[in-house]
């Protein structure tokens, strides 16, 4: 076991897989010699050579398109999109091609491409460095979508993604690259070394895709969260003083609905939180599915706490961010409902 922050954990996952499997290649803007603008691929080109860790032209669509071709030719490409905000030029290749290749060829062709991309705000990035577009991919059948909330999961889930045979969009909440962040920008930063999930095995291990995890047990209300918001949920629960159960969704698609519904049916109340804009967001899917299965157990409407339906504004990011106060208010509100 070693102490790792999230970037180190991701780096370690790629290192392990480049070492174990000669089919694994890494490609993306600035990922090679430089090691990536967030340093996630640092040292990998030096170790594995510039034919396995490739700098690319600035063309997200080209990166995905080429990765599909590589995947079809037996490689296992890991493509980095520098910011999730810049994934849209690659949207067609992801949605129309990567997600559909196995299906349309009835299994004869497939491209096991893992797309890593930093997402989320709180880093003063303004509207073009803060987005959380997971909902756009969750709706596209044929790709798996993942968002880890800690270094341990990050490494274990990324290895699962690379080892799997399906395309995966792997969102990395960059606000927690260096430490868990509970939504209070006034507090001094906490490093991952102080968090139990900052303990990460150095070698190979996996965390399976498709499984949510109950990260705090509780009886009063279920909080469904993922990525940075898991930590915000923890702070909000403390703040609200409720005995909440927090479920880290982790796997956006496919969704582990059983774990979610078991929790909500037990507590009878539910708050869904995410950083992305609320309207048409992924939280809507969680609410819709959970209310269908847990309707008879629900004692209050399910509330969503999410980013406002505006772009992520640079100057007001802490007004925008769905922080612990807003979540705590929602918790109180569902607890009061009856």
């Amino acid at each position: 076991m070693a102490r790792m922050n999230m970037v180190q954990a991701l780096n370690s996952a790629m290192d392990v897989m480049l070492e174990r499997d000669p089919r694994v290649v890494v490609l993306g803007e600035d990922v090679g010699f430089f090691g990536g603008v967030f340093r996630a691929t640092e040292g990998l080109q030096r170790k594995y050579g510039e034919h396995r860790v490739l700098d690319t032209p600035i063309a997200e669509g080209g990166i995905i398109g080429a990765a599909i071709g590589m995947g079809a030719n037996g490689l296992k490409p890991i493509a980095e999109i520098q910011f999730a905000d810049y994934i849209y030029p690659g949207f067609d290749q992801i949605v129309s091609e990567l997600a559909r290749l196995r299906y349309r060829s009835a299994g004869e062709f497939a491209a096991p491409v893992t797309i890593r991309t930093p997402c989320g705000g709180g880093i003063r990035g303004g509207q073009t460095h803060s987005q959380s577009p997971e909902a756009l991919f969750a709706h596209v059948c044929g790709i798996k979508v993942v968002m880890p909330s800690n270094p341990y999961d990050a490494k274990g889930l990324l290895i699962s993604a690379i080892e799997g045979e399906d395309p995966v969009v792997f969102f990395e909440p960059k606000r927690i690259y260096n430490g868990p962040f509970d939504g209070d920008p006034h507090k001094p930063a906490t490093p991952w070394s102080s968090h139990p999930r900052g303990e990460v095995p150095e070698g190979h291990f996996t965390v399976p895709l498709g499984r949510a995890e109950v990260v705090r047990e509780g009886r009063d209300v279920s909080v469904l969260a993922y990525g940075t918001m898991v930590h915000v949920a923890e702070a909000a629960v403390r703040m609200a003083g409720v005995d909440a159960e927090i479920v880290d969704v982790r796997s956006i698609a496919p969704l582990d609905l059983d774990t979610l519904c078991t929790s909500v049916c037990k507590t009878g109340r539910c708050v869904v939180i995410h950083e992305a804009t609320r309207f048409g967001g992924y939280g809507a899917e969680l609410v819709a599915s959970v209310q269908e299965q847990c309707f008879w157990n629900l004692e209050a409407p399910i509330l969503r706490v999410a980013g406002w339906d505006t772009p992520y504004p640079h100057a007001f990011e802490w007004d925008y961010f769905p922080g612990p106060h807003r979540v705590a208010a929602a918790l109180k509100s569902v607890m009061e409902a009856k």
Binding site: P57, A59, G65, A66, R102, F109, G210, P254
Partner: protein, 427 residues
């Protein structure tokens, strides 16, 4: 709007009712273009993009440095492949008109672009076609029954009923899955070739794109990635003058040849008479050899003409002269190869007629067999529950739940005597 608009709007030389006019097509005499060494630097051979490589002259003789000197037997095979492609197309179109398949796309007039190129490559080279290179399937020996069954979405459909007609793929034949989304195959082919290079393998990739589709982003990605990594790939741009109703000028063909896009990226661009079997074969061979020798990519513009409608959904008489094809200065690839073989004394009209009859019979037999696997109106049919498969390698619980729900719905419907969903293509 003020009348002095300065926007230039391309327009085709002739619209319905007007005389066809192909004076805009620059044609080099057969044999006139020099053949550089395959190791030539891209910038030293830029003129290949402006000329037109042609081997077959008006006298039906093969001339000049690009003559690939094929054996008569090979030429006969090529003729057979092109003819079979054409007859297959004609039959499928007829079948569509009879309502027996939902849709079809012919490659009439462009058979050489696929057949000659396909023959110049080796079987393990990977092909990424658009929807108009069915000739590649023929070259690689695909059983026509398989193609027909795909168009029928029947029990032998390689796509398991999931795709519209003509969206073939062939894993063991090294032909990639055709996409309904234009141009996407181009950077994929480059990625495939990059992987071959990374692995140190000798196989190369080849892809085809329409001149209209070359306006898509994927063309740019492919050209740039191919140039940057010197990927072993042949990028074929099929300039058949039309993109549905839109003249090639709207794809950027008014001010330059499409082949010249190549030099723009530092890639050799070769403009070839796409209806000249020998010329297409020769430039493909050149590009393949170059790619195999780590010489990197080549862009080939095949100048040809879309003789048929865009697809069975299209009516070209709305936007171009009805008989435009007859005026096409580069003729018909099938006729030209046939005439060449006759000029060589290696073919006769009689043999041709006989071959045609044979192939017709073959197509008929294939169709008969294909129908035994199910048709729109009867026979065996695919299980709709398979629609939940192959979305992922393993079916996740949510899809299994949906499959079960559909199974139950179907059972209930059957029990209540509700009429089953109509077959594909009805409704």
């Amino acid at each position: 709007m003020p009348p002095r608009s300065r926007l230039h709007v391309p327009s085709p030389p002739a619209r319905p009712g007007q005389e066809p006019d192909f004076s805009y097509v620059q044609i080099s005499p057969a044999g006139a273009v020099a053949r550089p060494d395959v190791t030539a630097r891209a910038r030293d051979i830029e003129d290949l993009a402006l000329q037109m490589v042609r081997v077959l002259g008006d006298d039906h003789r093969a001339v000049g440095p690009w003559n690939p000197h094929l054996e008569p037997e090979e030429l006969q095979v090529g003729l057979r492949h092109m003819l079979l492609t054409r007859l297959f197309d004609d039959r499928m179109q007829k079948i569509q008109r009879q309502g027996r398949i939902s849709f079809y796309i012919k490659s009439t007039g462009e058979e050489a672009v696929a057949v000659a190129a396909g023959m110049a490559l080796t079987p393990r080279d990977m092909l990424f076609p658009s929807y108009r290179q069915q000739g590649l399937q023929v070259v690689r020996g695909r059983n026509l029954v398989d193609l027909m069954c795909q168009c029928l979405s029947n029990t032998r459909d390689m796509c398991k009923g999931r795709q519209m007609p003509i969206m073939y793929h062939w894993g063991s034949g090294n032909i990639f899955s055709i996409s309904g989304n234009l141009a996407t195959q181009f950077p994929q082919a480059v990625g495939w070739a990059m992987a071959a290079a990374i692995k140190g393998e000798d196989h190369i990739a080849a892809s085809w794109i329409g001149e209209g589709s070359s306006a898509e982003a994927d063309f740019h990605y492919a050209m740039n990635f191919a140039a940057v990594y010197q990927a072993p790939v042949i990028l074929n741009l099929v300039n058949n003058q039309w993109a549905i109703s839109t003249f090639q000028g709207f794809a950027g063909g008014e001010h330059n040849t499409f082949a010249q896009r190549g030099p723009g990226y530092g890639i050799p661009g070769i403009r070839v008479d796409g209806n000249d079997f020998l010329a297409v074969y020769a430039v493909t061979q050149w590009a393949a050899q170059r790619a195999r020798q780590s010489g990197g990519p080549t862009l080939i513009e095949h100048v040809t003409y879309r003789a048929a409608a865009h697809s069975t959904s299209d009516d070209p008489s709305r936007y171009r002269p009805k008989e435009e094809w007859r005026a096409w200065p580069l003729g018909d690839p099938v006729e030209r190869l046939k005439d060449h073989l006759i000029a060589l004394g290696e073919w006769t009209q009689e043999r041709h007629t006989a071959l045609e009859k044979d192939l017709e019979a073959h197509v008929t037999a294939c169709w008969k067999e294909a129908e035994t696997y199910g048709t729109l109106s009867g026979g065996p049919s695919l299980d709709p529950l398979t629609m939940f498969e192959d979305i992922f390698k393993e079916m996740p619980p949510n899809l299994a739940r949906e499959r079960d729900e559909m199974r139950a719905l179907r059972a209930a419907a059957q029990a209540s005597g509700q009429s089953a969903a109509p077959r594909a293509h009805e409704g």
